[in-house]
């Protein structure tokens, strides 16, 4: 299954917004720290991504992610 970066971006923003931060603040350059998204939120994000795109993100993958854009890039690459 191939998905566009825009589609992933949209889904990731929607998921993160459901965790608390305002959707407007969830830009590609926003860091998870700025958005108050912690490791528990990222595990939830990984579950959503796996259901949506079949991409399995493990703990070590998530640790490297600093920004929303990092997550979108990784998911898009893995889904290709």
């Amino acid at each position: 299954m191939s998905v566009s970066k825009e589609q992933v971006q949209e889904r990731v923003v929607e998921a993160l917004a459901s965790f608390g931060p305002d959707a407007d603040t969830i830009t590609p350059s926003a860091t998870f720290e700025e958005l108050d998204i912690d490791s528990l939120d990222l595990v939830e994000l990984a579950q959503i991504v796996e259901d949506e795109y079949g991409v399995v993100l493990k703990g070590e993958d998530m640790k490297e992610l600093k920004t929303v854009g990092d997550a979108v890039e990784l998911i898009t690459a893995r889904a290709a």
Binding site: G20, D36, E44
Partner: protein, 403 residues
């Protein structure tokens, strides 16, 4: 150990089936209103988004949400702002629950069964653990003294206040935010309590009435801010009352039925009076456990006679469960708050629904409507608040109001 440090109440907060707010509980109960509908005491007017951010709300089980909102009210009344009046390491948090985050357990179990074991939320454990409410209150207000949950079924809330009082008396803390919270009104929760044959089949809470047939389950939270008396007075706090005595025993008998003699329960009440240095003659109100079950109301009546002697027949007794049902692990804390308000407003709210007397239950349970609190007028009015539980736990609290 020398003289015990005194422990005063400087703030109270409640979320109950009668609404959000401690005063709402007192005023609506005293007016004879009942918060029970369709056999449940649900907090229908509680809307988490009125008090909590999206992030806070989705990370807290309903029982913790109630606890946090009640703590906000209590801290505001105590006049605690962003800057706390004590070293944060000297402020404790004790929040009791009988069950914990059962709806979180249920929703995650559904996910496991319907989707798979790897779809359980990472928020599952941190939301359903019984200490989650205490943790949430500690984090929200930056309280860094010792914090924990307390579990003793329907005495949990009273144990929380009693043990928080001991923490201050012993010098381990200068202040403790303490209470209880519960949210078990799920299909599974009702089925479990129905299976024990503890719930009213007709859905009516009428403690001490001959027709009583079980308790009505409710939900909510009650939280008090407790402070060491001298420090509270020195900082100019408004003193609402005092947790003057705490006594606790166990039946060591049946798993769910109270000891029919009422003796272990009576001892808890006697210990509480002794702890407070008061006698039955000093007590002007008893807030009963009064569950509306056949067994509790009978054994509690026996316990009161054993503990209070001839005064058992003279002291007005009423049950908060007649208006909000049984809040399980929150009950003892919410009822302590109801007791304190009865003392301070000088109004004893009635045992609602009590219309047909039970011949064996011959005390003054304040049927009908609210009554003026009568006390000698010397010093502060004194009340006893009772809590008893599945497992045979018994707690008495002696609460003093404003003089």
């Amino acid at each position: 150990m020398g003289e015990k440090r005194r422990v005063v109440v400087t703030g109270i907060g409640a979320v109950t089936p009668l609404g959000v707010g401690a005063l709402t509980l007192h005023e609506r109960w005293a007016a004879g209103e009942v918060g029970i509908k369709d056999g449940a005491g649900a907090c229908t007017s509680f809307n988490p988004s009125d008090f909590l951010s999206v992030k806070e709300a989705r990370r807290l089980d309903r029982f913790s949400q109630f606890g946090v909102v009640a703590s906000d009210e209590a801290l505001a009344q105590a006049g605690w702002g962003a800057e706390k009046p004590y070293d944060s390491m000297r402020i404790g948090t004790v929040l009791a629950t009988g069950i914990g985050g059962i709806s979180t357990v249920e929703s995650n179990h559904d996910l496991m069964r319907d989707v798979g074991v790897n779809r359980i939320s990472p928020l599952g454990v941190p939301m359903y653990m019984p200490n989650a409410g205490a943790a949430a209150i500690s984090m929200r207000h930056g309280l860094q003294g010792q914090s924990f949950g307390i579990v003793s079924a329907c005495t949990s809330g009273a144990h929380a206040l009693g043990l928080a009082t001991r923490m201050i008396q012993y010098g381990d803390a200068d202040a403790v935010v303490a209470g209880g919270a519960e949210a078990t009104l799920t299909e599974f929760g009702f089925a479990c309590f129905r299976a024990v044959q503890a719930l009213s089949e007709v859905g009516i809470s009428r403690p001490f009435d001959a027709r009583r047939d079980g308790f009505v389950m409710g939900e909510g939270a009650g939280v008090m801010v407790l402070e060491e008396a001298e420090a509270a007075i020195a900082r100019g706090a408004t003193i609402l009352g005092e947790i003057a005595g705490f006594g606790s025993t166990s039946d060591a008998g049946h798993l769910t039925a109270p000891d029919p003699t009422g003796r272990p329960a009576a001892t808890a009440l006697t210990l509480a009076m002794k702890d407070a240095g008061v006698t039955p003659a000093d007590i002007c109100y008893v807030n009963a456990h009064g569950t509306s079950t056949e067994l509790n109301d009978a054994s509690e009546t026996r316990a009161l006679k054993l503990a209070l002697g001839e005064y058992a027949y003279k002291i007005p007794i009423s049950s908060t469960k007649s208006t909000i049902g049984h809040l399980l692990g929150a009950a003892g804390a919410v009822e302590a708050i109801a007791t304190l308000q009865a003392l301070n407003h000088r109004v004893i709210p009635p045992t609602l629904g009590l219309e047909v007397p039970d011949e064996a239950l011959d005390l003054d349970y304040v049927p009908g409507s609210a009554r003026e609190l009568v006390f000698s007028g010397a010093g502060a009015p004194v009340a006893l608040s009772n809590s008893f539980a599945f497992g045979g736990h018994n707690v008495g609290l002696i609460i003093k109001g404003q003089g």
